[in-house]
Symmetry: C2
Subunit: 278 residues, 2 copies
């Protein structure tokens, strides 16, 4: 079953909407869950945001996102820890069991990729028990390798799993985001591995479209507009035993400039066409 | 030893230069080898180009490049075979033992990545014995995953080696190009594997710089201008037993707009600073 009952709107997809707008939009479109962003939650206030989504009857699929873990030195480490603890606490208060974690790129001026990766593992070790205490899972999101220098030194599902498997499965999992992993020759094996270990904390979808825009972060398209075989990918994720939310997360200026209700209509249509029968 | 005696100029780095210009530029700069491009060779004529580089005392490190292998159907297959046979023949005539192979992306409108990858393996099987006959090695170049849809469905060194190892090492090898592989969490292991099997046919260098330009193909920087640790990478390649050319290949409009002699001066300086003592 991958029907609309499993569809979630990641609210960055309707970036111009406030959190109350996005909640109402989901209700109007019949979308049963939402993935929240901390900046939007902060605008509304955590307690008020939690009440809004609860009163609307929406589930909160994820909170995006923990802060980067790769800053060097004791100060960088302390700041990262504090910020991620706050994020865990917010996630718990918002009623989601999943905090998406983008681990960060190379520190300014550094070329030490192994060093940055080692810091990620160290900070995860400090954070994981707290995640357990909050009942929230840290979901490591491998980002596409084109973001390795500036956003995430974790680039593949296999690498994310190598990290996650150092900790209990209810404390650290992984995100399977179509945009970031679709190209990976190891995809089939690593999705199966993630499923077997109960590590798939989130399945996020958007499409790989070309050409890449000036800001490579914003090149993501609606499901079906690009080169990703969503039927095949969703088949892998389903075969791996994942039965959770399918969260649509699109960074794209044109999508953002579209009225939110229109975007949600497209999101629902594309879910039906490309994901529902996978 | 990674001194200037191992430096090669890939001629796309001085794209505005004709082949005779590039040959003379290398001689003037004391660069002992050149990587040629088929379009530049065609302007001069293969026999004349071969004579020019030979008379100048330059080695030809590589010929770039074989044509895409992923076109579907018998016509696409036949055309790819014919074009790559011509490229092998040219490589032999030019006196290089290495034909760089970029395997191609998804065919127009297709989302069938496994299918495209299967066609690459099929065509390699047809081409490999011919490569042996010509005394030229097919060097599979994994491209950065951001080119998976449009240029190369082979995205990692491990994947390239899985393909190469289906054939004798003197027929099919791999290219280690810093820009394409630097982010790979498997890098150390796969470079060692490539070296152990005698599969490193070429080591190409340029740097990962940000932001990515409008045309993502053209974002490569001079060695030292970006985020790649060339000392570490060259150390891995050297430890793997590679003693061949270190070829500088830069796609970048600003570099192309710089007078060629200035570019070559920078290339030599950066080689000394970042590669020579690795």
């Amino acid at each position: 079953m991958t029907g609309p009952d499993r569809l979630s709107l990641n609210q960055v997809t309707t970036k111009r909407w406030s959190l109350p707008d996005a909640v109402q939009g989901c209700v109007d479109a019949g979308i049963p869950a939402i993935g929240l962003w901390r900046d939007k939650v902060a605008e509304t206030g955590v307690a008020e945001a939690a009440k809004l989504v609860r009163d609307a009857g929406l589930a909160v699929s994820t909170l995006c996102r923990g802060s980067f873990l790769t800053a060097p030195g004791p100060d960088g480490r302390r700041a990262a820890l504090a910020e991620n603890l706050r994020a865990l606490e917010e996630a718990a208060e918002l009623g989601t069991d999943t905090l998406v974690l983008v681990v960060g790129g190379l520190p300014d001026g550094s070329r030490d990729l192994p060093g940055a990766r080692a810091r990620v593992a160290e900070l995860l070790a400090e954070l994981a028990p707290h995640a357990g205490d909050f009942g929230v899972r840290l979901a490591i999101e491998p980002l596409h390798p084109m973001f390795c220098a500036d956003r995430a030194v974790v680039s593949t599902l296999g690498q994310a799993l190598d990290l996650a498997e150092l900790f209990p499965a209810d404390q650290v999992g992984v995100v399977v985001d179509s945009y970031h992993v679709w190209w990976d020759p190891e995809l089939e094996r690593q999705v199966a591995r993630a499923g077997a270990g109960g590590r798939i904390a989130s399945y996020q979808v958007c499409d790989w479209t070309l050409p890449l825009p000036a800001d490579a972060l914003l090149g993501r398209g609606h499901v079906g507009d690009g080169h990703i075989d969503f039927r095949a990918l969703t088949g892998l994720v389903t075969a791996a035993g994942y039965t959770g939310w399918i969260e649509v997360e699109i960074f794209n200026e044109q999508v953002w400039d579209t009225p939110g209700a229109d975007t949600l209509r497209t999101v629902v249509e594309r879910h039906r066409a490309h994901l529902e029968r996978a």
